[in-house]
C-alpha cells in the first residue's frame, strides 16, 4: 500500500467526489471528511518518506505502469510533499469547519453538489502539486479552476456571479497562456515529462538561447501570475474572495494561489533548470522582483481602506503572495526557505482569519468590519483566534509570520537587494494598521455588535487548530528542516 501512496492520495478524494452525488444528503459530509482525512494521512506519510530520502532523490510513481517519458509519472520530493501536506491538512480542517457554514449559506438542494465540487477542487490542487508531467499539470489546473469559478459563484449576492465570471475569463486566459508555454516546450524538447525536459536541456545547453524556450518561460510566468493574482494581474481576487461563500473563501485563500506559486517554482527550477534563470532571462527575474515588491506594499495598503472584512483579507492576500514570489526573485537558499515556510504560515494565518470572517457571517449574517464590535466579550475564543492570526500576519516575533520575514530579509541582504528590507517593513506596518483596527473593534469597542454568542464547536475547533498552528509554527517550525533541504536541492 505504501508504494501506491502517491496515486491513492489523489484518487481517494476523486472517488469520494464521484460518490457524494450518489450518496445522498445525509452521508455526503461524512464521505467528504473521511476522504480528506485519508488524503491528509497519506500526505503526512509522504512528507516523512520524502524527508528521509537522500539529497536530490524523489519518490517516483509511474501511472499506468509506463515509465517517465512514455507515460505520466508522479514525483514527490521535499518541496511538493510540503505543499501537499498543507493542502490536504487545510482541506480536512475546512471540511470539518464548513458543515454548519454551508448549511446556512448554501440552499439545501445544492449542498451535496457543493461538497462534490469542493472535493474535486481539493483533488485538482493536489494533482497540480504532485504531478511530474507538464500537460497533466494543465489538466488538473483546469479541474481546480473550473471548480473554483463555480464555488465562488455560489455566493448569495448577485455580485458573486460576476466575480466568478471575471475569474473564469482571466483564469482561462491564464490557462491558455500556460497551454501555449507547454506547446513551445514540447516543440523544442519533444517530451512532456518534467524530468525528461530537464535532461534534454542538460544535453543540449544551446537550447537556452532559442527564442522558443524564452517565450515558453515568459508565457508560463504570465499564465501562472494570472492564476496567482500577482500584483498587476490581481483584478479578479478581491471580488472573488469577498463574494464567495465563507467555506470557499477559507479554502481558496489558504491554498489556491500558493499552488500556482508552487507550480511557478516547479517550472522555473525543475523544468527550466537553475542555469536558465541565471543566464537565460534575467529580465523576467527582475520583473518578478518588482511585481513581488509592489504586491507586498500595495496589498496591505489597499486593505486598509476596506469596509468589508473578506475584501480586506483578500487585498491582504494579494500582498502575501508577493512574499512567496519574492523567494524566487531573490534566487538564493534563504529567500527560498522563507517562501517555502510561507506556504504553511500564510495558510494557517489567512485560513484562521477567513474562519473568523465565516464565523461573523454565520452569527451576524454580514461580514462588515463594524460587525466585529464586542467580539472579545461575546465570542472570546474567536476573538483570540483573530488576535493570534493578525499578529502572525504582522510578523510579531514568536508567531509564524516572523520566521518568513526573517528568512526573506536574510535572503534579501545576502542577494544584495537591500532595498527589499524597507519594503518588508512598510508592509508589516501597513498590516499592523489594519490588524490594529480589527483588534480595536473586537476587544476595546464600548458597545456590543450583532454577534450574540460564539460559533458552535464544530466550527471553532478547526479554526482554533489553524490559530494554534500560527503559534506552534512560530516557536517550533516543523516545516523548517524540510524547507531548508528543499531550497538547497533546488539551487
Amino acid at each position: 500500500m505504501d508504494a501506491q501512496l502517491p496515486a491513492l492520495v489523489i484518487v481517494v478524494p476523486l472517488l469520494a467526489a464521484l460518490l457524494v452525488p450518489l450518496a445522498g444528503r445525509r452521508a455526503a459530509w461524512g464521505l467528504v471528511a473521511l476522504a480528506l482525512l485519508l488524503a491528509f494521512a497519506g500526505c503526512v506519510r509522504l512528507l516523512v518518506r520524502a524527508h528521509a530520502l537522500p539529497e536530490g532523490e524523489a519518490i517516483r510513481y509511474a501511472l499506468g505502469g509506463w515509465a517517465a517519458p512514455v507515460g505520466i509519472e508522479y514525483v514527490v520530493d521535499r518541496l511538493n510533499a510540503l505543499v501537499l501536506t498543507m493542502l490536504s491538512g487545510v482541506a480536512f480542517l475546512v471540511a470539518l469547519w464548513m458543515r454548519r457554514s454551508t448549511a446556512r449559506e448554501i440552499r439545501p438542494p445544492a449542498v451535496t453538489g457543493y461538497y462534490s465540487v469542493f472535493l474535486l477542487m481539493a483533488a485538482g490542487l493536489m494533482g497540480i502539486t504532485i504531478t511530474g508531467d507538464v500537460f497533466n499539470l494543465y489538466v488538473f489546473l483546469e479541474i481546480a479552476s473550473i471548480t473554483a469559478y463555480v464555488l465562488i459563484a455560489m455566493g448569495r449576492r448577485r455580485q458573486a456571479l460576476y466575480a466568478g465570471y471575471s475569474y473564469l475569463i482571466l483564469g482561462s486566459l491564464g490557462a491558455t497562456f500556460i497551454l501555449l508555454g507547454i506547446g513551445h516546450l514540447y516543440m523544442a524538447t519533444g517530451t512532456l515529462a518534467m524530468a525528461d525536459i530537464a535532461a534534454v536541456f542538460a544535453r543540449e545547453p544551446q537550447l537556452y538561447d532559442s527564442s522558443v524556450i524564452r517565450t515558453a518561460f515568459a508565457f508560463f510566468t504570465v499564465g501562472l501570475a494570472l492564476k496567482m493574482a500577482l500584483f498587476p494581474l490581481h483584478g479578479w481576487q478581491p471580488g472573488a474572495y469577498a463574494e464567495a461563500p465563507s467555506a470557499t473563501s477559507v479554502f481558496l485563500a489558504a491554498t489556491a494561489t500558493k499552488v500556482s506559486a508552487y507550480a511557478l517554482y516547479r517550472v522555473a527550477f525543475t523544468v527550466f533548470g537553475v542555469r536558465f534563470l541565471e543566464t537565460g532571462l534575467p529580465v523576467v527575474r527582475d520583473a518578478l522582483l518588482v511585481m513581488a515588491c509592489s504586491a507586498i506594499v500595495v496589498g496591505p495598503l489597499l486593505a486598509i481602506r476596506q469596509h468589508d472584512l473578506k475584501r480586506l483579507l483578500a487585498y491582504s492576500s494579494v500582498g502575501q503572495i508577493g512574499y512567496v514570489v519574492l523567494g524566487l526573485a531573490l534566487h538564493n537558499a534563504d529567500g527560498l526557505t522563507g517562501s517555502f515556510l510561507h506556504f504553511w504560515n500564510h495558510a494557517a494565518a489567512k485560513g484562521a482569519l477567513f474562519c473568523v470572517a465565516g464565523a461573523l457571517a454565520y452569527r451576524a449574517g454580514t461580514t462588515q468590519v463594524a460587525a466585529l464590535k464586542g467580539l472579545g466579550r461575546r465570542a472570546p475564543l474567536t476573538a483570540m483566534l483573530l488576535t493570534v492570526a493578525a499578529c502572525s500576519m504582522v510578523g510579531v516575533p514568536l508567531t509564524a509570520g516572523f520566521l518568513t520575514k526573517w528568512y526573506l530579509a536574510r535572503g534579501a541582504l545576502e542577494a544584495g537587494q537591500w532595498a527589499v528590507i524597507p519594503v518588508l517593513l512598510a508592509s508589516s506596518l501597513f498590516t499592523a494598521v489594519y490588524a490594529w483596527r480589527l483588534l480595536q473593534l473586537a476587544w476595546f469597542a464600548d458597545e456590543d455588535g450583532p454577534v450574540a454568542e460564539d460559533v458552535p464547536w464544530s466550527m471553532r475547533a478547526p479554526s482554533l487548530v489553524l490559530g494554534a498552528a500560527c503559534l506552534v509554527l512560530g516557536v517550533a517550525p516543523l516545516a523548517l528542516p524540510v524547507a531548508q533541504a528543499a531550497a538547497e536541492a533546488l539551487l
Binding site: 520566521l403 528568512y407 480595536q440 476595546f444 516557536v475
Partner: protein, 505 residues
C-alpha cells in the same frame, strides 16, 4: 549545572534556571484567568505569583553570586535564531528591581482597583502577569532576538492596560502609545536586528560585544547603533518620547508599572544590553557611538526637565520627569568609565523606587480627593500626612539629596563624569538638571505643606485605602533604605562595570 532541585519529582527545575521566572508568571496568568469568577482568589494568585517570582530571582541571584553560570537553551526556532536564557549581572539588576517592585505594585493595584471599582479587572491582572513574564524573559534572554521578542510582547500586552478605561481619551492616548512603540520597533529595531545578524552572523550576546571582531565600515556600525537605540523607543530618548505622556490616560497602577517598574526600564535595560553586549565598550569608543549616546542623553535630560516645569497636570509632570531621569541611565552607560556605568545601572534601581513612590502618591491623592492638577494641591499635606511625606522622600530622591537613594547613583555619575576627559559638559548638565528637578518638585511640596486648605474642603480629604498607603510607605522606606545599604544592586553594577571596563571602579 548543580544538582537537580527535586521540587517536582523528576522534573529538573534547576536545569530551567533562568527560564523559571517567566514560566511562573505564565502559570500566574493561567491562574488569574482560571480564578476570574472569584476576585479574592484572583488577587491572591497575582500577589502569590509576584512573591514567588521575586523569591526565584533572589534564588537565582544567590546562586549567581556563588559563581554558577545558569543557562537554559529553551527553543531553537531556526539556525541562528533561538529563545535561550542565561543569568548575568546586568539581567539580574533589571530582574531584581522589576520583580521586587512588582509585589508592591500588585498590592497597590488591588487597593486602587477595589476603591475605584474599575470594570474588566480580570483582563487587567491577566495583562499584568503577561507583562511581568515578558519582563523576566527579556531580563534573562541570552540573545538579541529574545530581547526583541519579549520587547514586542510587552508592548502588545501593556496596550490593553493603557486603554483600560476605554473612554475616547483613553483610546486616543493608547493609539498614540501603540503607534509610536510598535512603529519604532518594527520600523527601526527590526532592521537593526537584520543588519546586526547580517554583519555578525549571530545574535547571541558576548561579553566583549557581539560585533567586536566584525570587519564592517564604521558608518554601518553607527547606523546599526542608531537603529537599535532609537528602535527601543521605550527608553524614551527624545524625540521618540511622545508615548510616555500619552500613556497618562491609564489608571495609576498602570502608570506606575509603565514608568517605574517595567516598560521604561525595559527600554533602558535594552540599550545597556546593546552598549555592553552587542557593541562592547571598545567598538563604541572606536566608532564614536558613546559620545553620540551621551549627547542624546544630555539633550533629553535638559529639554525634558524644561517641559516638565511647564506641566500643570501632576501625572504629566511626573511623566516628563521620568523621560529626563531615564537619560541619566543612558548617560551613565554612555560615559565609558567604570564609575559612570555603575552610576547608570544603580540609577535604574534608585529611580524605580523613588518614581514608584511618587506615582503611588499621585494615585492616592487622586483616590482621596480626585485632584489631579498641581495647582489644586494646596494644604493637603496636613490631611494626608503619610502619603505626602512619602511623596516628599520620592521628590528628594529625584533631586538627589543625601538621605535618599537618588543621591547615591548621582554621586557615581558625577565621579564617572569627572573621570571622563570630556566630562565638563556632562558635569554641567548634571548640576543643571538637579536644579531643574528641584524647580519642578519643590513647589508641589511647598504647596501641599505650607499653603492653607481652601475653605470648606476639609471633610472631603482623607487618607487613601490601607493597601495603597502600605505600599506607598514601603517604597518610601525602600528609597531611604537603598541610600543606607546599596545591597546587591551595587555589587551587580560593579560586576557589569568590571566586566566591561576592567578594574577601574
Amino acid at each position: 549545572m548543580s544538582g537537580a532541585v527535586p521540587l517536582l519529582g523528576g522534573l529538573d527545575l534547576a536545569g530551567l534556571g533562568p527560564g523559571l521566572p517567566p514560566l511562573v508568571c505564565l502559570l500566574g496568568l493561567l491562574g488569574v484567568v482560571a480564578a476570574r469568577r472569584r476576585p479574592n482568589l484572583r488577587e491572591g494568585v497575582s500577589l502569590a505569583t509576584a512573591g514567588v517570582n521575586f523569591a526565584l530571582v533572589l534564588w537565582l541571584y544567590a546562586r549567581h553570586r556563588a559563581g554558577e553560570t545558569l543557562a537554559w537553551e529553551g527553543f531553537s526556532l531556526a539556525p541562528g535564531l533561538a529563545l535561550s536564557f542565561r543569568v548575568d549581572a546586568l539581567g539580574l539588576v533589571f530582574a531584581l528591581v522589576a520583580s521586587g517592585l512588582w509585589i508592591l505594585n500588585t498590592l497597590y493595584s488591588i487597593g486602587y482597583m477595589r476603591a475605584h471599582d474599575e470594570p474588566r479587572q480580570t483582563r487587567f491582572y491577566a495583562c499584568f502577569a503577561l507583562a511581568i513574564a515578558a519582563v523576566m524573559g527579556a531580563a534573562f534572554s541570552a540573545n538579541l532576538f529574545g530581547l526583541f521578542a519579549f520587547y514586542e510582547v510587552l508592548s502588545l500586552c501593556t496596550y490593553p492596560l493603557v486603554i483600560h478605561a476605554q473612554t475616547p481619551a483613553a483610546r486616543a492616548g493608547a493609539r498614540k502609545y501603540l503607534t509610536l512603540l510598535l512603529g519604532a520597533s518594527i520600523g527601526l529595531l527590526l532592521p537593526g536586528l537584520f543588519l546586526v545578524y547580517h554583519l555578525a552572523g549571530t545574535l547571541d550576546f558576548a561579553p566583549g560585544g557581539l560585533l567586536a571582531g566584525v570587519a564592517a565600515a564604521d558608518g554601518t556600525l553607527v547606523l546599526a547603533f542608531l537603529l537599535l537605540v532609537y528602535g527601543m523607543a521605550k527608553c524614551a530618548a527624545l524625540p521618540l518620547h511622545g508615548w510616555l505622556p500619552a500613556a497618562m490616560v491609564a489608571p495609576t497602577p498602570v502608570s506606575a508599572l509603565l514608568h517605574a517598574v517595567a516598560v521604561v526600564k525595559m527600554g533602558v535595560f535594552g540599550v545597556s544590553r546593546v552598549v555592553f553586549h552587542v557593541f562592547g565598550p571598545e567598538t563604541m569608543a572606536r566608532i564614536g557611538a558613546d559620545d553620540l549616546l551621551v549627547g542624546v542623553a544630555c539633550f533629553t535630560i535638559v529639554v525634558a526637565s524644561l517641559i516638565a516645569l511647564a506641566q500643570d497636570d501632576l501625572k504629566r509632570r511626573l511623566a516628563y520627569s521620568t523621560v529626563s531621569q531615564l537619560s541619566y541611565v543612558l548617560l551613565g552607560v554612555g560615559l565609558g568609565t567604570g564609575a559612570g556605568a555603575v552610576g547608570g545601572l544603580l540609577h535604574i534601581g534608585m529611580h524605580a523606587t523613588s518614581k514608584i513612590t511618587l506615582f503611588f502618591g499621585a494615585g492616592a491623592i487622586y483616590l482621596a480627593c480626585h485632584k489631579t492638577r498641581v495647582s489644586e494641591l494646596d494644604g493637603i499635606g496636613r490631611r494626608m500626612p503619610i502619603t505626602l511625606t512619602a511623596f516628599a522622600i520620592g521628590a528628594l530622591s529625584m533631586i538627589g539629596l543625601p538621605p535618599t537613594a537618588g543621591f547615591v547613583s548621582k554621586l557615581f555619575l558625577v565621579r564617572g563624569a569627572a573621570a571622563d576627559p570630556a566630562g565638563a559638559v556632562v558635569l554641567a548638565v548634571l548640576v543643571a538638571s538637579a536644579l531643574l528637578n528641584a524647580a519642578y518638585f519643590l513647589p508641589i511640596l511647598w504647596r501641599a505643606f505650607f499653603r492653607p486648605l481652601p475653605a470648606g474642603t476639609e471633610a472631603g480629604v482623607h487618607e487613601a485605602p490601607w493597601p495603597c498607603v502600605l505600599a506607598l510607605s514601603l517604597t518610601a522606606l525602600g528609597t531611604v533604605g537603598l541610600f543606607l545599604g546599596h545591597g546587591p544592586l551595587l555589587d551587580l553594577a560593579r560586576a557589569v562595570a568590571h566586566a566591561a571596563f576592567g578594574g577601574a571602579e
